[in-house]
């Protein structure tokens, strides 16, 4: 769980979402295949991946989606709610090196009494390339009654 609960009043446009680091191993890809039911061989069978013109096994786009989901449920905290999450798979990532999920607040507003925060989010690899950009909207608790 997020170590700190953010409130709507704590957040400004431009605020950074606390980053989330991951270093997926091939073992993690196998665990994710089992847990999600996605058994496409490019994620665990190196020979199969090479035959498909890939540099080796690659991380499931869906796992990167899950990492970005974790980034945002940590940010929302137990008093918040992740309302929207969008990801676009623009580049492939391989296991065995660090990837970092990051985000930045782009808008804050009140809608139907809910305190909403929009963020741009992305996953970047160790070369700093944003292979998985996206966006998210969270509802945060407010310190003042609306």
């Amino acid at each position: 769980m997020a170590s700190k609960q953010f409130y709507f009043e704590d957040i400004e446009v431009g605020s950074e979402v606390p980053p989330l680091e991951k270093e997926p191993s091939t073992q993690q890809l196998v665990k994710y295949a089992g847990a999600s039911g996605d058994f496409y061989q490019i994620h665990y069978d190196k020979d199969f991946a090479l035959k498909n013109n890939l540099p080796g096994v690659i991380i499931h786009g869906a796992l990167k989606n899950a990492f970005l989901g974790q980034l945002m449920t940590d940010f929302a905290g137990e008093l918040g709610w992740l309302r929207k999450l969008s990801v676009q798979y623009r580049g492939m990532d391989q296991p065995g090196s660090k990837v970092v999920c990051k985000g930045r607040v782009t808008r804050k507003y009140v809608e139907s009494g809910n305190h909403m925060v929009d963020c741009e989010i992305w996953l970047e690899n160790s070369r700093g390339e944003k292979t998985t950009p996206g966006s998210a909207t969270v509802v945060l608790p407010s310190r003042s009654p609306s």
């Binding site: 991951k22 993690q28 039911g37 796992l63 899950a66 709610w81 929207k84 969008s86 676009q88």
Partner: protein, 148 residues
């Protein structure tokens, strides 16, 4: 002119799949969270989660992926193709909890074609709805599949 996404092919937009219903197991939620490396007590620890406003464990946002959507039969005269997952847009309305019975159904939301570096590319947007046993929509996923 579109080569594969013809007027006739586009008439399939709106087509829905069969439904499939799953019972959500607590262990499946934990295994999913563990595979992602997400130690949030909401997704892992019933006792701690019970003290939160959710009153118990819930599923992490992309857990829905483990509730396989029924196949949506879209006819497209593309002789052979490679497939790519372009991405997903999720909306969340209600938490998914252990013991829930979630009904999954997909709909063909859009079918487009554009000319890419490697020739014609077909973009297929599928909207999948996850509804609980109370008839409440928990999540909607719009996924874009690319064929080229």
């Amino acid at each position: 002119m579109a080569k594969y996404v013809t007027e006739e092919a586009r008439r399939q937009i709106g087509k829905v799949s069969e439904t499939r219903t799953y019972e959500v197991e607590r262990g499946a939620i934990r295994r999913f969270a563990e595979a992602v490396g997400d130690s949030n007590p909401l997704f892992n620890a019933e006792k701690l989660a019970r003290k939160t406003r959710f009153g118990g464990m819930i599923a992490p946002p992309t857990f829905c992926r483990s509730l396989g959507a029924p196949i949506l039969d879209v006819k497209l005269s593309m002789p052979q193709f490679r497939g790519l997952d372009g991405g997903s847009d999720w909306e969340y309305f209600e938490p998914i909890r252990p013991g829930d019975r979630i009904t999954v159904q997909s709909k063909l939301a859009d079918l487009r074609e554009s000319e890419g570096r490697l020739g014609p590319m077909v973009f297929m947007t599928t909207e999948t709805t996850y509804t609980n046993q109370h008839g409440e929509i928990c999540a909607i996923q719009r996924a874009t599949g690319i064929r080229y």
